[in-house]
Amino acid sequence: MSARAIYVPCDAAALSVGADDVAAAIEQEAAKRDVQIKIIRNGSRGMLWLEPLVEVETDTGRTAYGPVAPEDVAELFDAGFLNGGTHDLSHGLTEDIPYFAKQERLTFVRCGITDPLSLEDYQTHGGLAGLRKTLTLSPEAIVETVTQSGLRGRGGAGFPTGIKWKTALEIDASQKYICANADEGDSGTFADRMLMEGDPFVLLEGMVIAGLAVGASIGYIYIRSEYPHAIKTMGRAVQIWQAANLLAGSGQTFEIIIRRGAGAYICGEETSMLESIEGKRGQIKVKPPLPAIEGLFGKPTIINNVLTLASVPIILDKGAGYYRDFGQGRSRGTQAFQLGGDIKRGGLVEKAFGVSLRELVEGFGGGSRSGKHIRTVQAGGPLGAYIPPHEFDVEMDYEKLADIDAMLGHGGLVVFNEDVNMAKQARFAMKFCEVESCGKCTPCRIGAVRGKETLDKIIAGENVAANLALLDEICELMTDGSLCAMGGLTPMPVQSAIKHFGEDFKG
């Protein structure tokens, strides 16, 4: 009998709850029992509450066990898990687990399935098909395909990707750049990290396609320093990718360079990120000029989020129509929703736009982990709105969320139970802005400090009505006067908390 393949994720979230120890325990137990096994360190399937999720390749498919602790391993061997035997921790075939089966995985189609650093695995599971088609197309045709797919920026702003690419394509320049924004700083989001650790080649393939589309021969990946595992995996992936010389014979070249962040949230803002890549303070720059016209080192630069670029290969492979058929309205394709906070089944859910918040939180997520009543969900990171339960039926797309004064952001959903104090959350939003503001513009730099002080007074019960009116003015000024989304959107969590949870602001 050939060695039984056992999958134990190397994703940082899985490692954070002991995946390495579990892999070592399986190795030891197999040696003790003289059983031939082969451990493959895959990415995560995104069912994070089951991590470490161990999968065994059986005749009928991959069988899932989780969450596995090292002390469970001997029992699993006793239960015959190498042949898919049942145990308290078994969940049957991984792909039949409803959480996974009900998803529409396009961007994350290989994540958790393949060995992240096997280019062979990558191709066996559909990788490089998009790049091969791209090499037969003109730059204009590539851009047109992306435009037709309806793909919009997944970093949060939702700008149509094809239009951004067209802008850079139409400029004549000696050098152009592609920048992958992997400065995933929003609380509640981990999709970029999961993808970079679980299927790094798809990001590289997307970057190369973007380069071919706009005529760029150098790409940067800017990864936040809080993601050491992603930095390591991407670094190795780039080496393997470059060594494979995939553009040989095409007359094209594409060099990829990784740059680490250094602990500044603002560097996720595109102009700030460019400054940081140039080795400077991450202060934002006034637009125009748009980076697509005058970006990195003064040259036309396409800055796209990791998920945006990683969605491009499947669009080129299967066609714009295939991708556009998912989703609704002006929100086409799929979104990687990330469920975090006090949630029973936290993880990543890739679904077509239009799924309701309730289905995500209660259906996929199973409600709160603590068993307490859910009071609110913050959608879209620290600059996103706190959504109250009576609006949980909102369909998740860019426009429907805007209709209720909320936003999708990067797709993070953080669940809070009834213990949360919303005045304190509003204060945190201002404090976060105070800590992370780059300091360039006054509304953000000063507004955040005054906003925090005013909330302190409200919380202490000082002149509550007058201070709420003042806070409203500060929010208005920050929204209208800030140069970027940091100061411009900080009022969103503050004002949503006041609007929906006014009872917490009575001092």
Partner: protein, 144 residues
């Protein structure tokens, strides 16, 4: 200072071609090498990259990762962001502040939002960290 660190710093700068745009990468590597960024080190980097000390100071003071004082043991980053707040992260941070550990820092999101509270010790990520587990981790993984 003796010459050994200086040679190491110059060699790190040379590895990056002494290019000013690689300053942040260089600062990371030098900090790993020395444990912190000394004034002498910054002067040497400025010379190697042919940029001003003021420029370097501007960069070092902007980014939270860079340390100007010597530290002991690996850096411990405790997540203070919303997803961890929702599952007891603030109690964990309060507990951490009460320990005698000198190298504990606040961080806003470690990307482990479904398995919070999260802590990063050196390059190792931990999830579902309780105060008791943090104590054990600080003892075994982050001893100065």
């Amino acid at each position: 200072m003796n010459h050994e660190p200086k040679d190491k710093i110059l060699s790190i700068c040379a590895d990056y071609g002494n290019q000013p745009d690689t300053l942040i990468e260089i600062l990371h590597d030098v900090q790993v090498e020395l444990g912190f960024l000394s004034t002498e080190a910054l002067i040497q980097i400025a010379d190697a990259l042919n940029i001003s000390r003021a420029d370097i100071h501007g960069v070092v003071s902007f980014y939270d990762d860079f340390r100007r004082e010597p530290t002991q043991g690996p850096t411990v980053k405790i997540c203070r962001a919303e997803a961890c707040q929702a599952v007891g992260g603030e109690d964990l941070a309060k507990h951490a502040k009460e320990t005698a550990h000198t190298n504990i820092h606040d961080v806003y999101c470690l990307g482990n939002c479904a398995l919070g509270p999260a802590v990063l010790i050196g390059d190792d990520l931990y999830g579902r960290v309780t105060p008791e587990r943090l104590d054990a981790l600080l003892k075994t993984k982050a001893a100065p």
